[in-house]
Amino acid sequence: MHARKKKYRGGHNGGALKNIVVCSLVIFFSAFVVIPIIVVFIGSFHQWNPLKGEFSFLGLDNWKKVFGSDLFWLSMGNTVIFAAIATSFRVVLGLALSSALYSKLIKYKSLYRILYYLPTITPLVAVTFVWKFIFDPQIGLLDKLLQTNINWLFDSKYAMIAILILTIWKDFGYAVIIFLGGLYSLPRDCYEAAEVDGANSMQRFRWVTLPLLKPTVLFIVITSLISYFQTYIPVMVLTQGGPGTATYLSSYLIFDEAFTKYNFGYASALSFVLFVFIAIMTGISFKVSGSTQTE
Protein backbone atom coordinates (compact mmCIF):
# COMPACT_ATOMS: atom_id res chain seq x y z
CA MET A 1 0.00 0.00 0.00
CA HIS A 2 1.36 3.38 -0.90
CA ALA A 3 2.39 4.88 2.37
CA ARG A 4 0.59 8.01 3.22
CA LYS A 5 3.31 10.55 3.66
CA LYS A 6 1.03 12.96 5.35
CA LYS A 7 2.75 15.62 7.27
CA TYR A 8 2.82 13.95 10.62
CA ARG A 9 1.49 16.12 13.34
CA GLY A 10 1.68 15.29 16.98
CA GLY A 11 -1.86 16.58 17.45
CA HIS A 12 -3.62 13.32 16.58
CA ASN A 13 -6.40 14.75 14.52
CA GLY A 14 -7.91 11.41 13.72
CA GLY A 15 -9.31 12.43 10.38
CA ALA A 16 -11.96 10.24 8.85
CA LEU A 17 -12.03 7.69 11.61
CA LYS A 18 -12.74 10.26 14.24
CA ASN A 19 -15.43 11.95 12.19
CA ILE A 20 -17.27 8.75 11.43
CA VAL A 21 -17.22 7.61 15.01
CA VAL A 22 -18.18 10.93 16.51
CA CYS A 23 -21.04 11.35 14.07
CA SER A 24 -22.31 7.86 14.71
CA LEU A 25 -22.18 8.40 18.44
CA VAL A 26 -24.03 11.66 18.29
CA ILE A 27 -26.70 10.32 15.96
CA PHE A 28 -27.17 7.14 17.92
CA PHE A 29 -27.48 8.65 21.36
CA SER A 30 -29.61 11.49 20.13
CA ALA A 31 -31.96 9.12 18.38
CA PHE A 32 -32.24 6.56 21.11
CA VAL A 33 -31.85 8.58 24.24
CA VAL A 34 -32.27 12.29 23.78
CA ILE A 35 -35.20 12.25 21.41
CA PRO A 36 -37.11 9.66 23.42
CA ILE A 37 -36.68 11.76 26.53
CA ILE A 38 -38.00 14.77 24.69
CA VAL A 39 -40.90 12.74 23.35
CA VAL A 40 -41.64 11.47 26.82
CA PHE A 41 -41.59 14.99 28.11
CA ILE A 42 -43.91 16.28 25.41
CA GLY A 43 -46.16 13.23 25.65
CA SER A 44 -46.62 13.84 29.33
CA PHE A 45 -48.67 16.92 28.51
CA HIS A 46 -51.10 15.01 26.35
CA GLN A 47 -53.84 12.47 26.57
CA TRP A 48 -52.04 9.88 24.52
CA ASN A 49 -53.61 6.57 23.65
CA PRO A 50 -51.94 4.95 20.65
CA LEU A 51 -54.68 2.36 20.27
CA LYS A 52 -57.30 5.00 19.78
CA GLY A 53 -54.95 7.36 18.00
CA GLU A 54 -55.49 9.96 20.69
CA PHE A 55 -52.94 12.69 21.22
CA SER A 56 -54.73 15.71 22.60
CA PHE A 57 -53.18 18.45 24.63
CA LEU A 58 -53.96 18.30 28.30
CA GLY A 59 -51.81 20.94 29.82
CA LEU A 60 -50.67 20.06 33.29
CA ASP A 61 -53.40 17.52 34.05
CA ASN A 62 -51.15 14.48 33.88
CA TRP A 63 -48.58 16.19 36.07
CA LYS A 64 -51.18 17.20 38.61
CA LYS A 65 -52.35 13.63 38.63
CA VAL A 66 -48.83 12.34 39.15
CA PHE A 67 -48.04 14.49 42.14
CA GLY A 68 -51.51 14.14 43.57
CA SER A 69 -51.53 10.38 43.27
CA ASP A 70 -51.02 8.46 46.47
CA LEU A 71 -50.07 5.44 44.48
CA PHE A 72 -47.28 7.36 42.79
CA TRP A 73 -45.71 8.52 46.04
CA LEU A 74 -46.14 5.10 47.50
CA SER A 75 -44.40 3.42 44.57
CA MET A 76 -41.63 6.00 44.58
CA GLY A 77 -41.07 5.43 48.25
CA ASN A 78 -41.15 1.66 47.86
CA THR A 79 -38.76 1.83 44.95
CA VAL A 80 -36.23 3.98 46.77
CA ILE A 81 -36.24 1.77 49.83
CA PHE A 82 -36.15 -1.35 47.72
CA ALA A 83 -33.25 -0.14 45.59
CA ALA A 84 -31.28 1.06 48.59
CA ILE A 85 -31.64 -2.18 50.54
CA ALA A 86 -31.05 -4.46 47.58
CA THR A 87 -27.95 -2.53 46.58
CA SER A 88 -26.53 -2.51 50.08
CA PHE A 89 -26.96 -6.22 50.48
CA ARG A 90 -25.51 -6.88 47.09
CA VAL A 91 -22.41 -4.86 47.90
CA VAL A 92 -21.96 -6.28 51.37
CA LEU A 93 -22.50 -9.88 50.32
CA GLY A 94 -20.33 -9.38 47.28
CA LEU A 95 -17.49 -7.94 49.30
CA ALA A 96 -17.77 -10.49 52.07
CA LEU A 97 -17.89 -13.55 49.89
CA SER A 98 -15.29 -12.38 47.42
CA SER A 99 -12.89 -11.64 50.25
CA ALA A 100 -13.53 -15.06 51.68
CA LEU A 101 -12.90 -16.65 48.31
CA TYR A 102 -9.81 -14.60 47.75
CA SER A 103 -7.84 -14.57 50.92
CA LYS A 104 -7.99 -18.19 51.89
CA LEU A 105 -6.38 -21.14 50.32
CA ILE A 106 -9.73 -22.70 49.79
CA LYS A 107 -10.11 -25.67 47.61
CA TYR A 108 -12.95 -25.78 45.14
CA LYS A 109 -12.76 -22.05 44.45
CA SER A 110 -14.15 -22.61 41.00
CA LEU A 111 -17.01 -24.57 42.41
CA TYR A 112 -18.04 -21.78 44.73
CA ARG A 113 -17.75 -19.25 41.96
CA ILE A 114 -20.00 -21.16 39.65
CA LEU A 115 -22.53 -21.88 42.38
CA TYR A 116 -22.80 -18.28 43.46
CA TYR A 117 -23.06 -17.18 39.88
CA LEU A 118 -25.78 -19.67 38.94
CA PRO A 119 -28.75 -17.47 39.89
CA THR A 120 -27.34 -14.62 37.84
CA ILE A 121 -27.24 -16.61 34.63
CA THR A 122 -30.72 -18.08 34.98
CA PRO A 123 -33.59 -16.30 33.23
CA LEU A 124 -35.37 -14.08 35.72
CA VAL A 125 -38.88 -15.09 34.73
CA ALA A 126 -38.24 -18.76 35.39
CA VAL A 127 -36.50 -18.13 38.65
CA THR A 128 -39.35 -15.97 39.88
CA PHE A 129 -41.83 -18.76 39.35
CA VAL A 130 -39.63 -21.11 41.36
CA TRP A 131 -39.60 -18.63 44.21
CA LYS A 132 -43.37 -18.30 44.02
CA PHE A 133 -43.48 -21.83 45.31
CA ILE A 134 -40.75 -21.28 47.82
CA PHE A 135 -42.78 -18.46 49.38
CA ASP A 136 -45.94 -20.52 49.74
CA PRO A 137 -46.87 -20.75 53.44
CA GLN A 138 -48.08 -24.32 53.22
CA ILE A 139 -45.74 -26.08 50.83
CA GLY A 140 -42.86 -23.67 50.36
CA LEU A 141 -39.25 -24.26 51.29
CA LEU A 142 -38.68 -20.98 53.07
CA ASP A 143 -41.20 -21.44 55.83
CA LYS A 144 -40.09 -25.05 56.21
CA LEU A 145 -36.48 -23.99 56.53
CA LEU A 146 -37.09 -21.17 58.95
CA GLN A 147 -39.78 -23.09 60.80
CA THR A 148 -42.12 -20.17 60.46
CA ASN A 149 -45.61 -19.75 59.16
CA ILE A 150 -45.32 -16.50 57.31
CA ASN A 151 -47.53 -15.86 54.31
CA TRP A 152 -44.74 -14.05 52.50
CA LEU A 153 -46.51 -12.76 49.45
CA PHE A 154 -49.76 -11.80 51.15
CA ASP A 155 -48.51 -10.19 54.29
CA SER A 156 -47.75 -6.49 53.92
CA LYS A 157 -44.98 -6.77 56.43
CA TYR A 158 -43.17 -9.40 54.46
CA ALA A 159 -44.10 -9.06 50.82
CA MET A 160 -41.44 -6.51 50.03
CA ILE A 161 -38.91 -8.53 51.99
CA ALA A 162 -39.81 -11.52 49.84
CA ILE A 163 -39.08 -9.60 46.67
CA LEU A 164 -35.84 -8.39 48.19
CA ILE A 165 -34.80 -11.93 49.06
CA LEU A 166 -35.40 -13.03 45.50
CA THR A 167 -33.52 -10.07 44.07
CA ILE A 168 -30.53 -10.35 46.36
CA TRP A 169 -30.33 -14.09 45.79
CA LYS A 170 -30.34 -13.59 42.07
CA ASP A 171 -27.79 -10.80 41.87
CA PHE A 172 -25.20 -11.23 44.57
CA GLY A 173 -23.16 -13.67 42.48
CA TYR A 174 -22.40 -11.03 39.93
CA ALA A 175 -21.07 -8.73 42.61
CA VAL A 176 -18.89 -11.53 43.95
CA ILE A 177 -17.28 -12.02 40.57
CA ILE A 178 -16.71 -8.33 39.98
CA PHE A 179 -15.22 -7.80 43.42
CA LEU A 180 -13.08 -10.87 43.03
CA GLY A 181 -11.68 -9.41 39.88
CA GLY A 182 -11.09 -6.19 41.71
CA LEU A 183 -9.28 -7.93 44.52
CA TYR A 184 -6.99 -9.76 42.15
CA SER A 185 -6.04 -6.50 40.56
CA LEU A 186 -4.91 -4.86 43.77
CA PRO A 187 -1.23 -4.28 44.25
CA ARG A 188 0.36 -6.60 46.80
CA ASP A 189 2.83 -4.15 48.24
CA CYS A 190 0.14 -2.26 50.08
CA TYR A 191 -0.72 -5.41 51.99
CA GLU A 192 2.78 -6.27 52.81
CA ALA A 193 3.42 -2.79 54.06
CA ALA A 194 0.34 -2.97 56.21
CA GLU A 195 1.38 -6.29 57.69
CA VAL A 196 4.79 -5.07 58.50
CA ASP A 197 3.03 -2.31 60.37
CA GLY A 198 1.24 -4.99 62.40
CA ALA A 199 -2.26 -4.74 60.98
CA ASN A 200 -4.45 -7.84 61.29
CA SER A 201 -6.67 -9.05 58.49
CA MET A 202 -9.70 -7.05 59.62
CA GLN A 203 -7.73 -3.84 59.70
CA ARG A 204 -6.04 -4.65 56.44
CA PHE A 205 -9.41 -5.05 54.88
CA ARG A 206 -10.79 -1.85 56.23
CA TRP A 207 -7.87 0.45 55.64
CA VAL A 208 -6.17 -1.02 52.62
CA THR A 209 -8.54 -3.17 50.59
CA LEU A 210 -11.69 -1.18 50.91
CA PRO A 211 -10.35 2.20 49.83
CA LEU A 212 -8.60 0.59 46.89
CA LEU A 213 -11.81 -1.11 45.89
CA LYS A 214 -13.82 2.08 46.07
CA PRO A 215 -14.15 2.52 42.31
CA THR A 216 -15.43 -1.02 41.97
CA VAL A 217 -17.87 -0.50 44.79
CA LEU A 218 -19.09 2.67 43.17
CA PHE A 219 -19.53 0.87 39.91
CA ILE A 220 -21.63 -1.85 41.49
CA VAL A 221 -23.63 0.67 43.49
CA ILE A 222 -24.55 2.81 40.53
CA THR A 223 -25.35 -0.04 38.16
CA SER A 224 -27.37 -1.69 40.89
CA LEU A 225 -29.37 1.41 41.68
CA ILE A 226 -30.18 2.01 38.04
CA SER A 227 -31.16 -1.59 37.58
CA TYR A 228 -33.25 -1.84 40.75
CA PHE A 229 -35.18 1.30 40.00
CA GLN A 230 -36.50 -0.64 37.04
CA THR A 231 -37.51 -3.81 38.84
CA TYR A 232 -40.67 -5.11 37.29
CA ILE A 233 -40.81 -8.85 36.74
CA PRO A 234 -40.76 -10.02 40.35
CA VAL A 235 -43.64 -7.71 41.12
CA MET A 236 -45.57 -8.82 38.08
CA VAL A 237 -45.15 -12.51 38.76
CA LEU A 238 -45.24 -12.67 42.54
CA THR A 239 -47.52 -10.00 43.91
CA GLN A 240 -48.95 -7.76 41.18
CA GLY A 241 -48.18 -4.93 43.53
CA GLY A 242 -50.04 -6.51 46.40
CA PRO A 243 -51.25 -7.28 48.94
CA GLY A 244 -53.28 -4.20 48.24
CA THR A 245 -50.57 -1.85 47.07
CA ALA A 246 -47.81 -2.85 49.44
CA THR A 247 -45.33 -3.83 46.77
CA TYR A 248 -46.07 -1.31 44.07
CA LEU A 249 -42.82 -0.25 42.43
CA SER A 250 -42.47 2.66 40.01
CA SER A 251 -41.58 0.52 37.06
CA TYR A 252 -44.63 -1.66 37.61
CA LEU A 253 -46.86 1.36 37.82
CA ILE A 254 -45.43 2.80 34.61
CA PHE A 255 -45.72 -0.43 32.71
CA ASP A 256 -49.26 -0.98 33.94
CA GLU A 257 -50.35 2.49 32.86
CA ALA A 258 -48.57 2.20 29.53
CA PHE A 259 -49.24 -1.30 28.31
CA THR A 260 -52.36 -2.37 30.15
CA LYS A 261 -54.32 0.86 30.18
CA TYR A 262 -52.57 2.41 27.18
CA ASN A 263 -52.41 5.67 29.03
CA PHE A 264 -49.13 6.70 27.39
CA GLY A 265 -49.41 10.34 28.40
CA TYR A 266 -49.72 9.68 32.09
CA ALA A 267 -47.11 6.91 31.90
CA SER A 268 -44.75 9.37 30.23
CA ALA A 269 -45.13 11.82 33.05
CA LEU A 270 -44.39 9.04 35.53
CA SER A 271 -41.35 7.96 33.53
CA PHE A 272 -39.99 11.43 33.38
CA VAL A 273 -40.18 11.84 37.12
CA LEU A 274 -38.41 8.52 37.55
CA PHE A 275 -35.70 9.66 35.19
CA VAL A 276 -35.08 12.87 37.06
CA PHE A 277 -35.01 10.97 40.29
CA ILE A 278 -32.41 8.50 39.10
CA ALA A 279 -30.30 11.29 37.71
CA ILE A 280 -30.32 12.95 41.11
CA MET A 281 -29.52 9.71 42.93
CA THR A 282 -26.62 8.98 40.62
CA GLY A 283 -25.32 12.46 41.00
CA ILE A 284 -25.46 12.15 44.76
CA SER A 285 -23.66 8.81 44.63
CA PHE A 286 -20.83 10.35 42.73
CA LYS A 287 -20.57 13.27 45.10
CA VAL A 288 -20.70 11.08 48.17
CA SER A 289 -17.94 8.84 46.94
CA GLY A 290 -15.73 11.85 46.51
CA SER A 291 -14.62 13.07 43.15
CA THR A 292 -11.34 11.23 43.06
CA GLN A 293 -12.84 9.10 40.31
CA THR A 294 -13.38 9.56 36.58
CA GLU A 295 -10.17 11.04 35.26
Binding site: L25, F28, S271
Partner: protein
Protein backbone atom coordinates in the same frame (compact mmCIF):
# COMPACT_ATOMS: atom_id res chain seq x y z
CA UNK B 1 5.01 -27.79 61.87
CA UNK B 2 7.63 -26.12 59.78
CA UNK B 3 7.35 -22.43 59.50
CA UNK B 4 5.81 -22.17 56.09
CA UNK B 5 5.64 -19.14 53.95
CA UNK B 6 1.98 -18.25 53.68
CA UNK B 7 1.36 -18.33 49.98
CA UNK B 8 -1.20 -15.60 49.94
CA UNK B 9 0.17 -12.90 52.08
CA UNK B 10 3.89 -13.40 52.08
CA UNK B 11 3.66 -13.93 55.77
CA UNK B 12 5.62 -16.15 58.00
CA UNK B 13 3.23 -18.18 60.05
CA UNK B 14 4.05 -19.36 63.53
CA UNK B 15 2.24 -21.93 65.63
CA UNK B 16 -0.01 -19.56 67.48
CA UNK B 17 -1.12 -17.87 64.37
CA UNK B 18 -1.56 -21.23 62.70
CA UNK B 19 -4.24 -22.19 65.19
CA UNK B 20 -6.07 -18.94 64.62
CA UNK B 21 -5.59 -19.55 60.97
CA UNK B 22 -7.17 -22.95 61.16
CA UNK B 23 -10.15 -21.78 63.17
CA UNK B 24 -10.85 -18.92 60.87
CA UNK B 25 -10.34 -21.25 57.96
CA UNK B 26 -12.99 -23.57 59.33
CA UNK B 27 -15.41 -20.75 59.98
CA UNK B 28 -14.83 -19.33 56.54
CA UNK B 29 -15.39 -22.68 54.92
CA UNK B 30 -18.61 -23.15 56.81
CA UNK B 31 -19.84 -19.75 55.76
CA UNK B 32 -18.99 -20.39 52.15
CA UNK B 33 -20.59 -23.79 52.16
CA UNK B 34 -23.71 -22.47 53.83
CA UNK B 35 -24.04 -19.74 51.26
CA UNK B 36 -23.60 -22.22 48.45
CA UNK B 37 -26.29 -24.48 49.79
CA UNK B 38 -28.72 -21.62 50.22
CA UNK B 39 -27.92 -20.46 46.74
CA UNK B 40 -28.50 -23.73 44.97
CA UNK B 41 -31.40 -25.00 47.07
CA UNK B 42 -33.99 -23.43 44.77
CA UNK B 43 -32.25 -25.00 41.79
CA UNK B 44 -32.23 -28.43 43.30
CA UNK B 45 -35.90 -28.08 44.08
CA UNK B 46 -36.57 -26.88 40.58
CA UNK B 47 -34.68 -29.69 38.88
CA UNK B 48 -36.33 -32.31 41.05
CA UNK B 49 -39.71 -30.76 40.34
CA UNK B 50 -39.10 -30.88 36.64
CA UNK B 51 -39.48 -34.64 36.90
CA UNK B 52 -42.77 -34.40 38.75
CA UNK B 53 -46.29 -33.96 37.55
CA UNK B 54 -47.96 -30.61 38.11
CA UNK B 55 -50.25 -32.28 40.60
CA UNK B 56 -47.30 -33.38 42.66
CA UNK B 57 -45.68 -29.97 42.55
CA UNK B 58 -48.84 -28.42 44.00
CA UNK B 59 -49.51 -31.25 46.41
CA UNK B 60 -49.75 -30.47 50.06
CA UNK B 61 -47.34 -33.17 51.10
CA UNK B 62 -44.08 -32.33 49.44
CA UNK B 63 -40.91 -34.26 49.05
CA UNK B 64 -37.74 -33.21 47.35
CA UNK B 65 -37.45 -36.24 45.22
CA UNK B 66 -40.32 -37.02 42.91
CA UNK B 67 -42.67 -39.73 44.08
CA UNK B 68 -43.12 -40.76 40.51
CA UNK B 69 -40.48 -39.74 38.03
CA UNK B 70 -41.81 -38.67 34.66
CA UNK B 71 -39.96 -37.48 31.64
CA UNK B 72 -43.03 -36.05 29.97
CA UNK B 73 -42.10 -32.52 30.86
CA UNK B 74 -38.82 -32.73 29.07
CA UNK B 75 -40.44 -34.42 26.13
CA UNK B 76 -43.01 -31.67 25.95
CA UNK B 77 -40.42 -28.98 26.18
CA UNK B 78 -38.39 -30.33 23.34
CA UNK B 79 -41.27 -31.21 21.10
CA UNK B 80 -44.17 -28.90 21.71
CA UNK B 81 -42.35 -25.98 23.13
CA UNK B 82 -39.80 -25.69 20.34
CA UNK B 83 -37.12 -25.07 22.89
CA UNK B 84 -34.18 -25.27 20.54
CA UNK B 85 -35.44 -22.45 18.38
CA UNK B 86 -35.91 -20.03 21.26
CA UNK B 87 -32.60 -21.03 22.71
CA UNK B 88 -30.78 -20.46 19.45
CA UNK B 89 -32.59 -17.16 18.94
CA UNK B 90 -31.39 -15.94 22.30
CA UNK B 91 -27.91 -17.29 21.73
CA UNK B 92 -27.55 -15.66 18.33
CA UNK B 93 -29.01 -12.39 19.60
CA UNK B 94 -26.69 -12.33 22.59
CA UNK B 95 -23.64 -13.18 20.49
CA UNK B 96 -24.42 -10.57 17.86
CA UNK B 97 -24.96 -7.89 20.46
CA UNK B 98 -21.77 -8.86 22.24
CA UNK B 99 -19.63 -8.82 19.14
CA UNK B 100 -21.08 -5.57 17.84
CA UNK B 101 -20.83 -3.72 21.12
CA UNK B 102 -17.28 -4.85 21.76
CA UNK B 103 -16.26 -3.38 18.46
CA UNK B 104 -18.24 -0.17 18.74
CA UNK B 105 -17.16 0.39 22.32
CA UNK B 106 -13.54 -0.16 21.45
CA UNK B 107 -13.50 2.18 18.51
CA UNK B 108 -15.50 4.82 20.35
CA UNK B 109 -13.31 4.51 23.42
CA UNK B 110 -10.27 4.90 21.26
CA UNK B 111 -11.54 8.00 19.53
CA UNK B 112 -12.58 9.57 22.80
CA UNK B 113 -9.28 8.73 24.46
CA UNK B 114 -6.72 9.38 21.82
CA UNK B 115 -7.98 12.19 19.67
CA UNK B 116 -8.19 15.73 20.76
CA UNK B 117 -11.08 17.66 19.37
CA UNK B 118 -13.45 20.28 20.44
CA UNK B 119 -16.28 18.99 22.53
CA UNK B 120 -14.51 15.76 23.38
CA UNK B 121 -15.11 16.03 27.07
CA UNK B 122 -18.65 17.18 26.49
CA UNK B 123 -19.39 14.21 24.27
CA UNK B 124 -17.95 11.81 26.76
CA UNK B 125 -19.88 13.23 29.67
CA UNK B 126 -23.01 13.21 27.54
CA UNK B 127 -22.58 9.54 26.71
CA UNK B 128 -21.86 8.73 30.32
CA UNK B 129 -24.99 10.48 31.47
CA UNK B 130 -27.13 8.36 29.19
CA UNK B 131 -26.26 5.46 31.45
CA UNK B 132 -28.52 7.00 34.01
CA UNK B 133 -31.57 6.88 31.83
CA UNK B 134 -33.51 3.79 32.79
CA UNK B 135 -34.91 1.67 29.99
CA UNK B 136 -38.45 1.95 31.24
CA UNK B 137 -38.38 5.70 30.68
CA UNK B 138 -37.60 5.58 27.01
CA UNK B 139 -39.45 2.40 26.20
CA UNK B 140 -42.62 4.07 25.02
CA UNK B 141 -41.09 6.45 22.46
CA UNK B 142 -38.66 3.80 21.31
CA UNK B 143 -41.56 1.46 20.76
CA UNK B 144 -43.42 4.07 18.76
CA UNK B 145 -40.25 4.67 16.76
CA UNK B 146 -40.02 0.99 15.85
CA UNK B 147 -43.66 1.04 14.90
CA UNK B 148 -43.25 3.94 12.53
CA UNK B 149 -40.09 2.57 11.01
CA UNK B 150 -41.95 -0.68 10.51
CA UNK B 151 -39.19 -2.54 12.26
CA UNK B 152 -41.55 -4.32 14.61
CA UNK B 153 -41.14 -8.05 14.70
CA UNK B 154 -37.71 -7.87 13.11
CA UNK B 155 -34.34 -8.33 14.64
CA UNK B 156 -33.47 -4.83 13.50
CA UNK B 157 -35.64 -3.52 16.28
CA UNK B 158 -33.75 -5.60 18.81
CA UNK B 159 -30.24 -4.96 17.65
CA UNK B 160 -30.04 -1.43 16.33
CA UNK B 161 -31.07 0.38 19.51
CA UNK B 162 -28.26 -1.47 21.25
CA UNK B 163 -25.30 -1.10 18.94
CA UNK B 164 -23.64 1.38 21.24
CA UNK B 165 -23.41 0.95 24.96
CA UNK B 166 -22.33 3.76 27.23
CA UNK B 167 -20.93 1.31 29.70
CA UNK B 168 -18.71 -0.31 27.10
CA UNK B 169 -17.53 3.02 25.79
CA UNK B 170 -16.63 4.07 29.28
CA UNK B 171 -14.59 0.95 29.93
CA UNK B 172 -12.82 1.09 26.62
CA UNK B 173 -11.92 4.69 27.03
CA UNK B 174 -10.25 3.83 30.31
CA UNK B 175 -8.34 1.05 28.66
CA UNK B 176 -7.32 3.11 25.66
CA UNK B 177 -6.07 5.94 27.79
CA UNK B 178 -3.58 3.51 29.23
CA UNK B 179 -2.03 2.75 25.89
CA UNK B 180 1.11 4.79 25.47
CA UNK B 181 0.98 7.40 22.73
CA UNK B 182 4.46 6.49 21.62
CA UNK B 183 3.19 3.17 20.34
CA UNK B 184 0.66 4.92 18.17
CA UNK B 185 3.08 7.52 16.96
CA UNK B 186 5.56 4.86 16.01
CA UNK B 187 2.96 3.21 13.84
CA UNK B 188 1.98 6.50 12.29
CA UNK B 189 5.55 7.32 11.43
CA UNK B 190 5.74 3.97 9.74
CA UNK B 191 2.94 5.19 7.56
CA UNK B 192 -0.08 3.54 9.07
CA UNK B 193 -3.41 5.33 8.62
CA UNK B 194 -5.67 5.85 11.60
CA UNK B 195 -7.83 2.86 10.76
CA UNK B 196 -4.77 0.69 10.73
CA UNK B 197 -3.53 2.18 13.95
CA UNK B 198 -6.72 1.25 15.65
CA UNK B 199 -7.25 -2.18 14.20
CA UNK B 200 -3.68 -3.38 14.26
CA UNK B 201 -2.17 -1.69 17.26
CA UNK B 202 -4.82 -0.64 19.69
CA UNK B 203 -7.51 -3.28 19.45
CA UNK B 204 -5.28 -6.26 20.19
CA UNK B 205 -4.26 -4.60 23.42
CA UNK B 206 -7.77 -4.30 24.74
CA UNK B 207 -8.06 -7.95 25.47
CA UNK B 208 -9.12 -7.63 29.09
CA UNK B 209 -11.76 -5.01 28.55
CA UNK B 210 -13.13 -7.08 25.73
CA UNK B 211 -13.69 -9.92 28.13
CA UNK B 212 -15.41 -7.73 30.70
CA UNK B 213 -17.72 -6.16 28.22
CA UNK B 214 -18.39 -9.55 26.70
CA UNK B 215 -19.68 -10.98 29.96
CA UNK B 216 -21.72 -7.94 30.81
CA UNK B 217 -23.33 -7.61 27.41
CA UNK B 218 -23.90 -11.29 26.85
CA UNK B 219 -25.65 -11.70 30.17
CA UNK B 220 -27.72 -8.61 29.64
CA UNK B 221 -28.84 -9.70 26.19
CA UNK B 222 -29.50 -13.24 27.36
CA UNK B 223 -31.80 -12.11 30.13
CA UNK B 224 -33.40 -9.21 28.29
CA UNK B 225 -37.14 -9.44 28.64
CA UNK B 226 -39.13 -6.24 28.30
CA UNK B 227 -37.86 -5.06 24.96
CA UNK B 228 -38.01 -8.39 23.07
CA UNK B 229 -41.40 -8.94 24.68
CA UNK B 230 -42.80 -5.77 23.20
CA UNK B 231 -41.06 -5.79 19.91
CA UNK B 232 -41.03 -9.39 18.75
CA UNK B 233 -44.41 -10.85 17.88
CA UNK B 234 -43.77 -14.01 15.93
CA UNK B 235 -43.28 -17.06 18.02
CA UNK B 236 -40.41 -18.32 15.94
CA UNK B 237 -38.36 -15.17 16.40
CA UNK B 238 -38.90 -14.89 20.10
CA UNK B 239 -36.22 -14.97 22.75
CA UNK B 240 -36.00 -17.71 25.35
CA UNK B 241 -36.48 -15.40 28.31
CA UNK B 242 -39.80 -14.28 26.89
CA UNK B 243 -40.86 -17.64 25.48
CA UNK B 244 -40.67 -19.17 28.94
CA UNK B 245 -43.80 -17.17 29.64
CA UNK B 246 -45.67 -19.45 27.26
CA UNK B 247 -46.02 -21.87 30.12
CA UNK B 248 -48.43 -19.45 31.73
CA UNK B 249 -51.84 -20.24 30.44
CA UNK B 250 -54.90 -18.13 31.07
CA UNK B 251 -55.93 -19.90 34.23
CA UNK B 252 -52.90 -21.80 35.37
CA UNK B 253 -49.21 -22.19 34.80
CA UNK B 254 -47.52 -25.36 33.65
CA UNK B 255 -44.85 -25.19 36.31
CA UNK B 256 -43.40 -28.59 35.56
CA UNK B 257 -42.85 -27.67 31.95
CA UNK B 258 -41.37 -24.32 32.88
CA UNK B 259 -38.95 -25.92 35.28
CA UNK B 260 -37.90 -28.49 32.73
CA UNK B 261 -37.28 -25.80 30.14
CA UNK B 262 -35.28 -23.72 32.58
CA UNK B 263 -33.21 -26.68 33.67
CA UNK B 264 -32.19 -27.29 30.11
CA UNK B 265 -31.64 -23.61 29.45
CA UNK B 266 -28.99 -23.18 32.09
CA UNK B 267 -26.84 -26.15 31.15
CA UNK B 268 -24.97 -24.66 28.18
CA UNK B 269 -24.45 -21.37 29.97
CA UNK B 270 -23.05 -23.20 32.96
CA UNK B 271 -20.68 -25.22 30.81
CA UNK B 272 -19.59 -22.13 28.96
CA UNK B 273 -18.94 -20.32 32.19
CA UNK B 274 -17.13 -23.24 33.82
CA UNK B 275 -14.72 -23.42 30.95
CA UNK B 276 -14.03 -19.74 30.61
CA UNK B 277 -14.35 -18.54 34.15
CA UNK B 278 -10.66 -18.17 34.81
CA UNK B 279 -10.43 -15.95 31.79
CA UNK B 280 -13.46 -14.01 32.95
CA UNK B 281 -12.01 -13.24 36.31
CA UNK B 282 -8.68 -12.35 34.86
CA UNK B 283 -10.38 -10.10 32.38
CA UNK B 284 -12.52 -8.45 34.98
CA UNK B 285 -9.59 -7.98 37.26
CA UNK B 286 -7.27 -6.58 34.68
CA UNK B 287 -9.78 -4.09 33.53
CA UNK B 288 -11.11 -3.45 36.97
CA UNK B 289 -12.72 -0.11 37.24
CA UNK B 290 -9.92 1.84 38.71
CA UNK B 291 -11.61 5.16 38.62
Amino acid sequence: MKKKRNLKLGNVVDNGQQKKFRISSVILNIVLILCSILTILPFIWMICSSFKTNAEISALVQSFLPKKIIFDNYQNVLQKFDFLRYFLNSLVYALIITVITIYTSAISGFVLAKYRFRGRQLLFTFILSTMMVPGVVTIIPRYTMMQQLQWLDTYKALVIPSIFTAFGIFMMRQACTAIPDEMLDAARIDGAGEFRVFHRIVFPQLHNSVVSIAIFQFLWAWDDYLWPYLVIRSGDKQMLSVALNLFSGRYSTDYAGLFAATSIAIIPVVIFYLVFQKRFIEGVSASAVKG
